[in-house]
């Protein structure tokens, strides 16, 4: 493409051969108008075109020479007969060459900018375009295709360029991509010399500015999206200030991490956060378990008490009723009933009890006083030893 655009200029250079010293200046301007600033091999093309024109001239000159030689030799004016074929051929070739230099195509993603004698005349749309050489020159610019500048570390590549200093004097490793295209091909061509380098430098500056105005922690997490959009606005504003005709499509903040040297410490913090969470959850689990148990236990105690209440009251009612019933009958025949109850009770009590009946009159200090002097030995220990439970030795004295 730049070869095409250089073509007419090569012609111009040839035409202005007297001031050949300026060729360099013109070539620089020309070639940088193309899409790739920084390449400087246009002189070759220039030379090529010079040669082409030289050959053309030889062709024409050949025609002239033929005419001249015929004029010199024959001395007549019928040279055209002889030279007509060469002249037509030459003219035809010239027209074809002119056509090749003047017609050009613009692809769908491109626009062309046409200059009439150096000043802007029109913008060409996709399709076949006509720029009559040498009056009109053109530059084709790829407009809609997205171009990407990567800054800082991205992917697996570590790059110290991505290390940026934050407000709190921490260092963060940033990697991002700026995607851009051309919004205005004329401005893009006419206003800045190194578009790609400009985007790169402005992007880096904008990102560093945003990072330098922020603390580390928010950069790492919650502000990521905000940073990308702020940077995008900032880049766009700067480029608009330059009238660069460049549109920033988006900024991808690929990486905003602590530097590799300290990232382990950040992971430790994450682990600690997890641990904190775990400790809390364990405690919650404990609390849930213990409190629920306690509630159950409390309920048990209360229900037991209620049970006791019911039991006690009912028991009392039962006993009272039983007593009342017995007492009613007792009141009818007190003497007999009393005796009967006594005997029945004794029967029951003494029936199952180990008994030992001692006649006090046999004992020394017995009731009778004048006993036989027999001293009964009570082997209380033996008696008690029979049972391991606390046995009761009861002396049933008189009444």
């Amino acid at each position: 493409m730049s070869g095409n655009s250089g073509g007419p200029w090569g012609g111009g250079g040839n035409r202005g051969g007297s001031n050949g010293g300026d060729d360099d200046d013109r070539n620089r301007g020309n070639q940088q108008g193309g899409r790739r600033p920084g390449e400087n091999q246009i002189p070759e093309i220039d030379e090529l075109m010079n040669k082409g024109r030289e050959q053309l001239r030889v062709l024409m000159g050949g025609g002239n020479g033929a005419r001249r030689s015929s004029g010199g030799g024959g001395g007549g004016g019928d040279a055209p007969q002889f030279g007509a074929g060469a002249v037509f051929l030459g003219l035809g070739a010239a027209v074809v060459l002119w056509g090749l230099a003047s017609f050009y195509t613009v692809k769908p993603e491109e626009r062309s900018v046409e200059l009439f004698l150096g000043s802007y005349s029109s913008t060409g749309n996709p399709g076949l375009n006509f720029a009559p050489w040498p009056l009109v020159t053109y530059n084709v610019v790829n407009v809609t295709s997205e171009r990407t500048e990567s800054i800082g570390s991205s992917g697996g590549v570590r790059d110290d360029n991505g290390l940026m200093l934050t407000t709190d004097a921490n260092i963060v490793d940033i990697g991002f991509q700026v995607v851009w295209n051309v919004s205005d091909p004329t401005k893009f061509l006419f206003n800045i010399r190194d578009p790609q380098q400009t985007v790169q430098a402005v992007s880096e500056s904008a990102m560093r500015e945003v990072i330098a105005a922020s603390n580390l922690a928010p950069i790492l997490n919650r502000d990521r999206g905000a940073i990308a959009s702020t940077v995008q606005e900032s880049i766009q504003a700067a480029l608009n200030e330059y009238d660069a005709g460049i549109n920033i499509v988006r900024v991808n903040l690929e990486k905003a991490d602590p530097p590799g040297d300290v990232i382990d410490s950040f992971r430790e913090v994450q682990a600690a956060e997890q641990q904190r969470d775990r400790l809390q959850r364990e405690a919650d689990a404990y609390a849930n378990r213990v409190v629920a148990e306690a509630r159950g236990q409390a309920e048990q105690v209360i229900q037991q008490a209620e049970g006791y209440r019911s039991q006690t009251v009912n028991n009392a009612l039962g006993q009272a009723s039983r007593f009342s019933a017995v007492q009613e009958q007792y009141a009818l025949a007190p003497e007999v009933t009393r005796r009967r109850i006594y005997l029945e009770t004794m029967e029951q009590v003494l029936g199952g009890v180990n008994k030992m009946i001692l006649d006090p009159t046999l004992a020394a200090g017995g009731e009778g006083g004048g006993g036989t002097g027999v001293v009964p030995i009570l082997p209380l220990n033996d008696l008690l030893g029979k049972t391991d439970q606390a046995a009761t030795a009861t002396t049933a004295g008189g009444n």
């Binding site: 301007g29 934050t166 407000t167 010399r193 006690t312 009590v349 009890v353 009731e367 009861t394």
Partner: protein, 299 residues
């Protein structure tokens, strides 16, 4: 025929002369027309220009915004923390005449060198100014500083015929010797944070546990209280019932209840009784007669 042989070369010469007396200035360019080194014409607008062939030369300069990146320099803000700074400038040739006068035939290369030294000087001056600390550079005031550098550089670059469109700081970093110390500090900060997290976790856990334990104790105590109240009420009620029933005949109650108590208290195999035959129960066992004789006689 003679005429023709003269006319053709004459036409050719005239054509060459005509072509070399016009020149085209592109949208991207500005041109100077020089006559033996003297500036005769300034052409800043694009289009066709005219000059005298052979005598006059055209020099063209780029009219677009040009870029310049400065080298990394170390600056010392007023808080004496050194920083590595680099910047880029966007500039364009504003005044071709002055530009030509300032840089001569060296062209933009020479101008670039001069601008570079202007920028370095201005960066040092602005960033080393009294009120400017490294904290200022690392803050939203950075923009203000950049604008100040730009304005000062613009003033200085006017003499070069250059218009400084923009100056922006790129890197503002610590010197690499300080990096390790910074990393160490960052690590220490993280460790502090990690320890803090764990301690807070323990704190929270302990609080939750203590609260739970307290709740347990309270719940149980509450329940115990209710239980005791219930039991007390039950006992009271029972006492009331007993009192009402037994109060009808206390003497009989005494007897009757004693009898019941004997049965329960002297139950079974675990009791041993040592008795005298004088008990009422043995009235008949020892007396040997059937006459009622409450006083048991010895054998």
């Amino acid at each position: 025929m003679r005429k023709l042989t003269f006319i053709v070369p004459a036409l050719v010469v005239a054509g060459i002369a005509a072509l070399s007396s016009v020149f085209v200035v592109d949208e991207r360019e500005k041109a100077l027309v020089l006559q033996f080194g003297q500036i005769r014409q300034v052409k800043e607008e694009p289009g066709l220009g005219f000059k005298i062939p052979l005598i006059q030369d055209v020099v063209k300069y780029d009219d677009r915004i040009l870029s310049l990146d400065t080298d990394t320099i170390e600056v010392t803000p007023s808080d004496d923390r050194r920083m590595e700074v680099d910047a880029f400038a966007r500039n364009r040739i504003a005044d071709v005449v002055r530009f030509r006068q300032a840089v001569g035939e060296g062209g933009y290369k020479v101008a670039e060198d001069r601008l570079q030294s202007i920028l370095n000087a201005q960066i040092r001056e602005v960033l080393g100014a009294d009120q400017v600390t490294s904290d200022t550079i690392l803050s939203a005031d950075r923009r203000v500083l950049m604008n100040r550098i730009r304005d000062q550089a613009r003033a200085s670059a006017l003499s070069l015929g250059l218009d400084v469109v923009d100056v922006r700081l790129k890197q503002t970093n610590l010197p690499s010797q300080n990096l390790d110390a910074t990393f160490a500090r960052m690590r220490a900060e993280r460790q502090r944070e990690a320890a803090d997290e764990i301690a807070r976790g323990n704190e929270a856990a302990q609080r939750v546990r203590a609260l739970a334990d307290r709740q347990v104790t309270e719940t149980l105590a509450e329940a115990e209280k209710s239980a005791q109240i219930a039991r007390g009420e039950a006992d009271a009620e029972a006492n009331g019932i007993f009192a009402a029933a037994y109060g009808a005949d206390p003497e009989f109650f005494d007897f009757y209840r004693s009898m019941q108590a004997y049965v329960i208290a002297l139950k079974g195999e675990n009791s041993t009784m040592v008795m005298t035959p004088s008990s009422d129960f043995f009235d008949y066992l020892y007396s040997g007669d059937y006459a009622p004789n409450p006083q048991a006689a010895g054998q």
